[in-house]
């Protein structure tokens, strides 16, 4: 079994302020995870704002370098400080999916321009026919066709079409891994499921692995195979999505789950979270603790009592 992506003991520390008034923020602390090349999966990173989930995603995309530890893709270290050729090679394998479909394309430019550039750069295609064929086959995978996209500007298409076109663009080089940072947080309810379902079908039908970053536990439960839950830069729980979310063990995971608004009691107006729960969860923020494996396959951060 070979690994596709290996994140080993990665930390990221940001330094704020100027030369004299230094302040540091530990965005990610000692995070490890790995994806296998053989079985495609949707791997979810759950966290609130400030949890470090976006920073982790940016490091996986090579947009940010870890302060400590290493991220490697197929055995090669991920970094943006490499030659252009090497960087392009990496980008052919790992592609992002964006948050807001209306922002994913330059409103002043035609949509096919991005698809064409991708096909030219990553597939080294030159001829018109080859380019069109590559673009069309990628668009077919998301239920669109080149005829629907060619020559059109973003404002001429719906949010759903745009998000599909953006994902199709990412699929052109046949990447084994997509990184989707909050792909549904900015879209309307009616669009949300169509995107989530599309990610699911990418995994099942095209065998593409997806790193899905979200704050929404419900969609995470719906599509992911495995997940991690992050609190203030640390992974506090990690394991099979159903195992963890059906019965979270770490106090913070429990708090998150308890805070999810359910529709099952619609109309009953239950909005009280046990206040002790929040206290227990926040008390643990400063303690390092360590991840311990449980018999059911998950890992949970545990703390030594002083």
């Amino acid at each position: 079994m070979s690994t596709l992506l290996d994140v080993r003991n990665v930390s990221k520390r940001f330094t704020m302020g100027g030369l004299l008034s230094r302040k540091t923020v530990d965005a990610v602390q000692d995070a490890s995870l790995s994806l296998s090349a053989e079985t495609p999966e949707i791997f979810t990173i759950i966290g609130e704002s400030g949890s470090g989930k976006t920073t982790l995603a940016r490091m996986i995309l090579g947009l940010e370098l870890p302060t400590d530890g290493e991220i490697s893709f197929r055995g090669k270290t991920v970094s943006h400080r490499v030659g252009r050729q090497e960087r392009l090679e990496f980008m052919a394998n790992v592609q992002p999916v964006f948050q807001n479909p209306f922002e994913a394309f330059n409103p002043l430019k035609r949509i096919d321009r991005y698809l064409e550039s991708t096909a030219k750069r990553f597939l080294k295609l030159r001829h018109r026919d080859d380019l069109d064929a590559a673009m069309d086959s990628a668009l077919q995978k998301v239920g669109l066709s080149i005829a629907e996209v060619r020559g059109r500007f973003p404002h001429e298409m719906s949010g759903g079409q745009l998000q599909r076109a953006a994902i199709a663009r990412a699929l052109i080089p046949n990447p084994p891994l997509l990184v989707a940072d909050e792909p549904v947080s900015m879209v309307d309810a009616s669009l949300r499921m169509s995107i989530v379902n599309l990610l699911k079908s990418l995994r099942d039908d095209l065998r593409v692995s997806v790193i899905y970053i979200t704050h929404d536990l419900a969609t995470a439960y719906y599509i992911s195979n495995r997940l991690i839950i992050m609190q203030r830069g640390r992974i506090v729980e990690m394991g099979d999505a159903r195992t963890v979310l059906d019965n979270p063990e770490h106090p913070y995971s429990r708090l998150l789950k308890a805070s999810v608004l359910s529709t099952e009691d619609a109309g009953s107006g239950k909005l009280i979270t046990d206040p002790g729960m929040a206290e227990r969860a926040t008390a643990l923020i400063r303690q390092p603790g360590r991840l311990v494996a449980r018999p059911d396959g998950r890992s949970v951060r545990v703390y030594e009592r002083a």
């Binding site: 989530v196 439960y221 998150l256 999810v260 608004l261 107006g269």
Partner: protein, 341 residues
């Protein structure tokens, strides 16, 4: 039967724009009739650009050009007398502001003056309507802050020094410190994290029950409505398409759009395939004929394309604007599920 506090009748509010010779009319609110009762939370749901924000701007008497009320009335029955904000003079509106009618605007960062301390803002907003002076005023504000679980020293802080959750509680405090009879809340928890969101929602409910006032709560997030609202109204393309008691709306919707909204919500503990609604919300500048939902509706028949369905009583306290409301089935049967804490 409880009394009505607000009666909206045949309300039409359009944006009329003329920009460099291009005239455009956007029918943001197109013939809405509804009532809101005393002491209830009424949830308004709808997608972006469905007209829900424009609708509550009218309710809040915050109508500014290019928006204009074209027809209809918005009648409140406040303790100090009835008022129709569609026709009232600025002075009459001034007389009910904050004391009787208050508003929690969307976006807690941008609604607070960035260069003014919170305490000053409280004074600007609340001192005159409260009609209290010195110690009494101070005690009232501090008491209110305590109820919102805010420390007294937020009064000395600038907005940028507070966290998102704190800021949102401050804006709720500003809107409720005068114990208004009617509060309009526009997406007050959208930018918040789940844990804080639940806290803030709980707080709004608590305060509403304390004050016994009516709250109109607007958000696109159906799960929030499920937990907050006594009744829910769904707005689609400028029209109210369905309204009813929250429980019925979620378990027995009578409009295909509502049925879809409810069905598309994933739940922890349930991995059944969720349907997606294709197509996009119609443009309010040139909405479809007949029922505005027909191009996306799985139940649409020819009649839907030509005739506008009226909002009719379909069950006790439950109204729907659909020709085929009797055929609407919940798309995903809600399962009862043990919730583990």
């Amino acid at each position: 039967m409880t009394e009505d506090l607000l009666k909206v009748e045949g309300l039409k509010a359009y944006y009329q724009m003329n920009y460099f010779g291009v005239e455009r009319e956007v029918r943001a609110v197109d013939d809405i009739t509804m009532t809101i009762r005393k002491n209830e939370i009424y949830g308004i749901a709808g997608e972006s650009s469905s007209g829900k924000t424009s609708f509550i701007k009218v309710l809040a008497a915050a109508i500014r050009p290019p928006m204009r009320i074209v027809a209809g009335s918005v009648k409140y029955d406040f303790k100090n007398g009835p008022i129709d904000v569609a026709t009232a003079t600025p002075a009459q509106i001034e007389a009910v502001r904050w004391r009787h009618l208050s508003y929690i605007m969307q976006g807690s960062m941008s609604v607070l003056n960035p260069v003014r301390r919170i305490g000053r803002t409280f004074e600007d907003f609340a001192r005159r309507p409260l009609g209290l002076s010195g110690e009494a005023y101070r005690a009232r504000v501090l008491n209110h802050l305590e109820r919102l679980k805010l420390p007294a020293d937020v009064l000395n802080a600038y907005p940028h020094e507070l966290s998102g959750g704190m800021r949102q509680r401050v804006t709720i405090g500003l809107a409720t410190v005068c114990h208004p009879e009617f509060v309009i809340a526009d997406e007050p928890t959208t930018a918040l994290d789940v844990v804080v969101q639940k806290e803030v929602l709980g707080l709004i409910r608590e305060i509403q029950q304390d004050m016994g006032s009516s709250v109109v709560f607007v958000t696109h997030d159906m799960t929030v409505h499920a937990n907050m609202a006594d009744r829910v109204g769904i707005i689609y393309a400028g029209r109210l398409v369905e309204e009813g008691p929250t429980r019925q709306m979620f378990f027995a919707p009578k409009h295909p759009y509502t049925a879809h909204l409810v069905a598309s919500l994933p739940r922890i503990g349930d991995t059944a395939q969720r349907p997606a609604l294709e197509g996009r919300p119609p443009s309010l500048a040139s909405p479809p004929s007949g029922c505005r939902f027909h191009p996306r509706c799985p139940l649409a028949i020819d009649k839907c394309k030509t005739d506008v369905p009226p909002l009719i009583q379909v069950a006790n306290d439950h109204r729907s604007a659909c020709w085929r409301w009797q055929d609407v089935e919940p798309l995903v049967v809600p399962q009862r599920h043990e919730v583990m804490a």
